[in-house]
Subunit: 298 residues, 2 copies
């Protein structure tokens, strides 16, 4: 099976590339040289050349922060409500002898919101389920809750849960009381912190330091503190987004472990979410965008 | 006026020393070699010797994280309810030829809470106002809200507002949309974000990313975003601590600029706080502890 295009997910922290034959993956490669590690357009060109060594000069279809102002080429946002399938903007002069096309993000005016990359995943979901009507939850560094209806992104909301979790667990005083264990969504710590955070969001803020203090006042239990921190923050996330998911069909699209946490959290609150494959959604969304682009050209 | 003792506030990030004649300051010195920069007891001794060069070998009375497990000598916590005036524990062998006495912190079992340093400030306040009955708010890296009655610390609560503000403003994606300007507590941004955060704490979590998105969707206004971030976080702090301050006499003891933000925030919510001098409170608390220690010896 020989590849005929290349799918690229180029975010702030990572670059992931798939050599694709239609919708089938031929080979996958990844690097930690995301947008954040780049100082100018020539860096993007050099990194792409390095990472596609040995691959034919196939067109590269990319989504993510690569299209941001600090990215390779700034691709403008479209404004909701709009179809999810991103329009593609070519990088000038076919860098490295191949066409490179970058997907545009989506923004919202009131309240202000932006996304880059998630619109492509949503497009991938809608390619498979064109009649989906409900909420797509995309947990991650910045969790997105997108309301989908009639094949369009109607509106969306961002909660910085992943970034705040990383800052608190790695750099705040809480790091002294946490473990490296995986968060267990069935643990009493996760479940209890989640429920408390949802029912008393105004108190959640004060419960963070108690995670540290508990280990000084009593026997430390770093695994439980880790479960509780995760439950507290995901509870705040679900609480902020409640108007989005309550009574709605919810599809979770994210890294498997994180998706499992949001799944458990939503189930505790009476929702019945379905989990989708995030990487498959990205590739399918890039494929849709690429098909639409070629159709427009022809 | 010649000094007869040395007051030391030795926290995680800084060391501040005052050569004191009774309650009067003769000379002040400071360094950025807090507990966090120390690798063992000999570091503390060396830093104290360096910083007191030229001063007579007077007794040093110290409070703060210097008494923590990772500090110079671990001084046990007392448990609330307890008097604020800390008991002092000597560092063995009079390092550098002078007695060094370290104040112990205060803890609470349910919910778990700890403080080191703030108890000394509270003791200083109570030395001047022994009949104070109400709440002492000590804003900082970890804001403390302490309930004071009958000369004792009855209970307290910690909110990690300062630390989270620092992490979000310096290390999260929000840093791209903020300014270095001082937060203006009278600005519409601060006042509005504060009120919203208090009335809708469950939504505050989702308003953080909007501070960044607003600058991408519309004209950036970094000063307003900074005011709003501060208002949002202080609003969450006040919301978490509302049961403490509502209808109570509130005394704010903290760095002047930060105290002014909490003062404006509490006034917006109908409280009538009074601001106290934090450094004077520290010195007076250390003096009280030193007096009590000498009385016990005699």
């Amino acid at each position: 099976m020989s590849a005929d295009w290349i799918a690229a997910d180029w975010g702030t922290s990572n670059l992931r590339l798939w050599a694709m034959a239609g919708m089938d993956v031929v080979e996958m490669r990844s690097s930690d040289r995301g947008m954040g590690a780049m100082t100018g357009p020539e860096d993007f060109a050099a990194e792409l050349t390095r990472m596609t060594e040995g691959w034919a000069p196939l067109p590269v279809i990319a989504c993510g922060m690569v299209g941001a102002r600090q990215g390779w080429v700034e691709v403008p946002y479209r404004t909701v409500p709009c179809p999810a399938t991103p329009t593609l903007t070519p990088v000038p002069d076919d860098p490295g002898g191949r066409p490179v096309l970058i997907a545009g993000g989506v923004m919202q005016q009131h309240p202000p919101e932006v996304m880059r990359g998630e619109e492509t995943q949503i497009a991938g979901i809608l390619a498979a389920q064109p009649d989906f009507d409900g909420i797509i939850c995309l947990p991650g560094t910045h969790t997105k809750w997108a309301r989908i209806s009639a094949g369009e992104i109607v509106n969306f909301q961002t909660v910085m849960t992943g970034e705040i979790y990383a800052l608190l667990s790695r750099q705040s005083v809480l790091r002294f009381g946490l473990s490296d264990t995986q968060v267990d969504p069935e643990s009493p710590g996760f479940q209890d912190a989640l429920a408390t955070s949802l029912s008393q969001p105004h108190l959640a803020w004060a419960k963070l330091f108690q995670l540290r203090a508990a280990g000084l006042v009593d026997q430390p239990d770093p695994a439980q503190a880790t479960d509780r921190l995760s439950g507290t923050l995901i509870g705040l996330d679900l609480g902020a987004a409640r108007a989005n998911w309550l009574g709605q069909q919810v599809l979770i699209v994210g890294a498997p472990r994180l998706a499992a946490l949001y799944d458990a959290a939503l189930r505790q609150q009476g929702a019945a979410p379905v989990i989708g494959d995030a990487d498959a959604a990205t590739r399918a969304g890039l494929w849709s965008a690429w098909q639409a682009f070629r159709k427009d050209l022809s």
